[in-house]
Symmetry: C2
Subunit: 298 residues, 2 copies
Amino acid sequence: MEFNLSDYLSRRKELVDKKLLEYLLKSKNDLSKLHESMIYSVMAGGKRLRPLLCIASCEVLGDEIEKALPVACAIEMIHTYSLIHDDLPSMDDDLLRRGKPTNHSVYGEALAILAGDALLTDAFYFIVDEGISSGLKSSLLVEVIKDIANASGSRGMVGGQAIDLSLEGSKEVTIEMSERVHSLKTGALIEVSVMTGAKIGGANSKELYQLNSYSKALGLAFQIVDDVLDIEGGGEIGKNRGGDARNKKATYPSLIGLENAKRMAEQLTKDAVDALRTFGSEAAPLREIANYLGGRAY
Amino acid sequence: MEFNLSDYLSRRKELVDKKLLEYLLKSKNDLSKLHESMIYSVMAGGKRLRPLLCIASCEVLGDEIEKALPVACAIEMIHTYSLIHDDLPSMDDDLLRRGKPTNHSVYGEALAILAGDALLTDAFYFIVDEGISSGLKSSLLVEVIKDIANASGSRGMVGGQAIDLSLEGSKEVTIEMSERVHSLKTGALIEVSVMTGAKIGGANSKELYQLNSYSKALGLAFQIVDDVLDIEGGGEIGKNRGGDARNKKATYPSLIGLENAKRMAEQLTKDAVDALRTFGSEAAPLREIANYLGGRAY
């Protein structure tokens, strides 16, 4: 039977959405709009790329998807917090995200900052609480927590965002500097989504190596495609187009030209798919996710 | 030999300061001022109350203080992040903290938000990385991570801050609402400092219960003393005096009167010390920390 990506994605997405909403509603109290604001952004129609990669990576190894669900959801909470903080007036100052008003434009700056802080913190609570209920061992949980915190903190995503800010408006951004920013800011969380899924699935060292190659190629391809779509536009993004140029950000198209950027995305997508060649039909989700994401740009 | 609190505090503080600085310098890169900004706030002369409580609580049980150090430092990183975000223009809009310019007035709002985000995230990395090096078991680490994330997230510190914001300027704040805000916003992290130290020290259920009573009384006493000092002033605080009244915050003195607030702090301090009565001389640090903190108000 042929693999149907859109069917696969919508079934997995439903699991993630349900789990996330369940947790947020359970934690809610009536004394502030904090949880309302958290729910607003978490349920704002994200594609759930990172949790889907985490689940699909666990599936490649043949393990139950339920085991990957706690970590998958926690990564989405961290991703959502980063979007809320990125959109703040003192950061990118964006009013729209996925076609909807950004968190701070609905709930105000203070509550948006707190909603981000809470999602980030609660993600670690969630991993332990749900991870133990799902039968994950403590030794695996601490490894996964370390990986995720490393990928999201000062030497990962936040570090990349800080470098990006410091380079803004600078005319001396090289392609190496841009790659470093992207690999920290976007790549690190995508990679850790794949790698934690693989660890939960019990991957051996060869499998970890292959999935690491896949995730690195995919992470970079994803960023380049995003840069391309920021110029060419794409219905599903729902952001104000041309935001990067407006904020004078160094992007792949601005550094190597639009056509070269598209070719680079295409090659990286092939590299990602190629890294999966020794896996069987269980790798169909990861393979088709890469083809789908890369294919948006060319 | 009589217990010398000031000597004890300065020796323990030195351990914490050294460990924190070591970690932050190790993580630094030269492409942005992120780590400089993190170091600025972490090393801005805090009293290290929370890490000292964590260490002292572990010592009560007779365990090595080095074992508590990773968690103690991580809690201080979380405390520091919360101060950086609290001081932001959209929150309390404070320009001074401990007599020095606040993070955002030195590094700008965007980098201050990111420094806070990074300290919060890195705290979880640090617990696992340093905790494993110090020989803490995975099962203990996941329990401690869950406790700390619960105390700091949407059902703890951030939740309290959100409720506090929503009540600001409101005339209908009851003493119960104020207690709830304080217990979440300040109490939760103080309590978890004591309780994680106790768990690391191997406390049994009776000891956990006693230390929980101590930490609850201490946490509330601490908040009331802070409210009192915001009116009466105290050299070591170094904040702009009267900030609570300026921001129209409900405080204990504004709700029950200054003298009643002082008496309440005194009683809570006695309760805290009383909870330690079955412990021997090992409890001297916890006892004297409570007497010292409470004593500042009366």
